[in-house]
């Protein structure tokens, strides 16, 4: 286990280091000086210089980078330029909403993909298998903003069952919160669920063609037991890798879904940050996303090795 981590950790950390440097440099490429913008049009050069010194912008570039990393590690993210308030507070406020959305979506991904994959792989009648195939193709193809609009048209406008947008805290009013969460989570989950269902279905089909399945059938083991206890566990490891990659897609998709359903999460925050040129917010959030992505990939590798005993941890 430890040696496995030692092997995978360096490349993850390298990507993280490269990404942090890229994000840092990217935002330094932008024309214009944040201090001038922050000080306003009528500020005297002395004020601008003072703000520049306060923000550390007069330091050499690499020093700025290191001090940014240092502050990140100590949790002190400093003030935002345009949105107002401390960056740490802004991120803290959005984090809960985004975490609820992505966690809900992740749950739905598994709940939708698993039965769909088993159904598709084991259907004896061709129409059922073809229907599963058609559903996964269509759902996979349609971008979340299209699904989102269709969902709102059907469930909010026509049927009036669910609110078209907004957010309620899961702690204050659980029943209302679930109503608000349902459509955005479905919208976010569908494309990833389709991808996962396809991989899982292929995996189960491959496992069902193996010799041990024939042996088990000959020994009188029921079909259901063969699928759930033999074929599915063998198809899981590679599905976990796909799921890990899809978590990245969920985080990216959340930006869009939050926009459509007026969900007050990190996606809205980063969008505001980009539109209003609030670089500390953008810089910290981009790095947060990359860090989560790298961590999830690492975790995926670990789960894969744990699920598949053939992979040795040496």
């Amino acid at each position: 286990m430890r040696s496995f981590l030692l092997k995978r950790l360096p490349s993850g950390l390298l990507v993280l280091a490269l990404a942090s440097f890229t994000v840092f440099l990217l935002l330094r490429l932008i024309p214009g000086d944040p201090a001038t913008t922050l000080a306003g049009p009528d500020a005297s050069p002395a004020t601008v210089a003072a703000i520049r010194a306060q923000l550390g912008l007069d330091q050499p570039l690499f020093g700025q980078y290191l001090s940014w990393l240092g502050h990140l590690l100590s949790g002190d993210l400093g003030p935002s330029y345009a949105i107002g308030g401390q960056v740490a507070d802004l991120i803290g406020n959005g984090l809960a909403a985004t975490a609820q959305l992505t966690a809900g979506a992740l749950l739905l991904v598994v709940l939708i993909a698993l039965p769909l994959a088993v159904l598709g792989a084991t259907a004896r009648r061709r129409p059922v298998a073809a229907a599963v195939q058609a559903v996964t193709t269509a759902v996979l193809a349609v971008p979340p903003f299209v699904t989102g609009i269709v969902l709102v048209l059907v469930f909010a406008v026509s049927l009036g069952l669910l609110p078209a947008g907004g957010h309620e805290s899961l702690l204050d009013a659980p029943d209302l919160a679930v109503q608000y969460l349902l459509m955005p989570a479905v919208c976010l989950a569908l494309p990833s669920a389709a991808v996962l269902a396809r991989y899982l279905k292929d995996g189960i089909e491959r496992a069902l063609a193996e010799d041990y399945v024939r042996t088990a059938t000959a020994l009188g083991v029921s079909r259901r037991r063969i699928v759930w206890q033999h074929a599915l566990p063998n198809a899981l490891p590679s599905a976990v890798t796909v799921l890990g990659l899809q978590i990245g897609q969920l985080i990216a998709g959340a930006v869009l879904v939050e926009r459509i359903f007026a969900w007050p999460g990190l996606g809205q925050l980063i969008e505001q940050g980009v539109l209003r040129r609030d670089y500390p917010v953008v810089q910290d959030l981009l790095l947060l996303v990359v860090a989560v992505y790298v961590a999830v990939q690492l975790l995926t590798d670990l789960v894969y090795a744990w699920l598949d005993p053939r992979i040795r941890w040496e």
């Binding site: 490269l18 890229t22 932008i30 193809a141 985080i251 930006v255 459509i260 969008e271 996303v289």
Partner: protein
């Protein structure tokens, strides 16, 4: 002694496999969907002489009469806007996808030259992939600001790892095959073996990847438009018309209908084509 003539004509075989793939119901449906939408976009100047950006007092009108798809919130003709929007979308993805393919494939070829190059290129792909989807778009537009070229750049960057990894995997498999070794033994230089023998045998997945990449392109354009980071208004794109329509879903659902249909047809069409090609190749 008779010599057996091999029925394999190496020049014609791959092309006929693509065609066989496209001649299935998947391929034909995909081609039809993309064809209709693309044609409508290309012929936009002939099909309508209304200026897509001309505003009028007749805002949010339903479909009918002078405006087949109705008008938007600024009284602009939606028929003209959607057709011209398709044109903009196609122009963007047909610039961005070849650019991404070129960069990705060049990177894969560079990676094939040495171990160090391979490691470097792979980490670069990892770096690009660690900014998933629209996150990359946010990072780029944070620097460049919204606009047409930033959208092209975002799509091209997002496509690089896809093409690059496919080609790299193909090259790794193909250059260990006997024919590649035989060519090497026969005295061909490494570069010649790679470019003349190995690369042509590794392009199959790239053809499929191109169709996938086109659908991703439509997706990214729409996503950036939704975030207000796409092509600058008033120039219409499918994504910008759709994102405009969201505010009026409850009162004017017909506003969303046409851009919704065009986007779905385009993305679904490209996906079906990709799948059809994939099946044709694997057969």
């Amino acid at each position: 002694m008779t010599v057996l003539a091999l029925p394999l004509d190496s020049r014609r075989r791959p092309r006929s496999r693509y065609l066989a793939g496209l001649r299935t119901w998947r391929g034909l449906t995909g081609l039809a969907l993309v064809g209709v939408v693309a044609l409508a976009g290309l012929l936009a100047p002939l099909l309508t002489d209304t200026d897509p950006n001309a505003q009028s007092a007749l805002a949010l009108a339903g479909p009918g009469g002078q405006h087949p798809f109705g008008t938007d919130d600024l009284g602009r003709d939606l028929f003209s806007r959607v057709l011209h929007g398709i044109g903009t979308d196609l122009a963007i993805i047909l610039t961005a996808v070849p650019l991404g393919a070129l960069l990705g494939c060049s990177a894969a070829l560079i990676a094939a030259t040495s171990r160090w190059a391979d490691l470097t290129v792979q980490r670069l792909f990892d770096l690009l992939l660690s900014f998933p989807g629209l996150i990359l778009g946010l990072a780029v537009t944070a620097v460049l600001g919204p606009g047409r070229w930033p959208v092209v750049i975002v799509i091209a960057l997002a496509e690089i790892p896809g093409f690059g990894r496919q080609l790299r995997a193909g090259l790794l498999v193909q250059r260990e095959r006997e024919y590649a070794l035989a060519a090497r033994v026969g005295g061909a230089s490494r570069a010649r073996v790679l470019l003349r023998h190995v690369v042509p045998n590794a392009v199959d997945p790239l053809i499929v990847q191109s169709a996938v990449a086109l659908s991703i392109g439509v997706f990214i354009e729409g996503g950036l438009s939704f975030l207000g980071l796409g092509v600058r208004p008033p120039e219409p794109t499918l994504g910008s018309i759709l994102s405009q329509s969201v505010a009026y879903l409850a009162t004017n659902p017909t506003f969303a209908a046409a851009p919704l249909a065009a986007t779905t047809a385009l993305v679904l069409g490209f996906t079906l084509i990709a799948e059809a090609l994939n099946r044709g190749i694997r057969r």
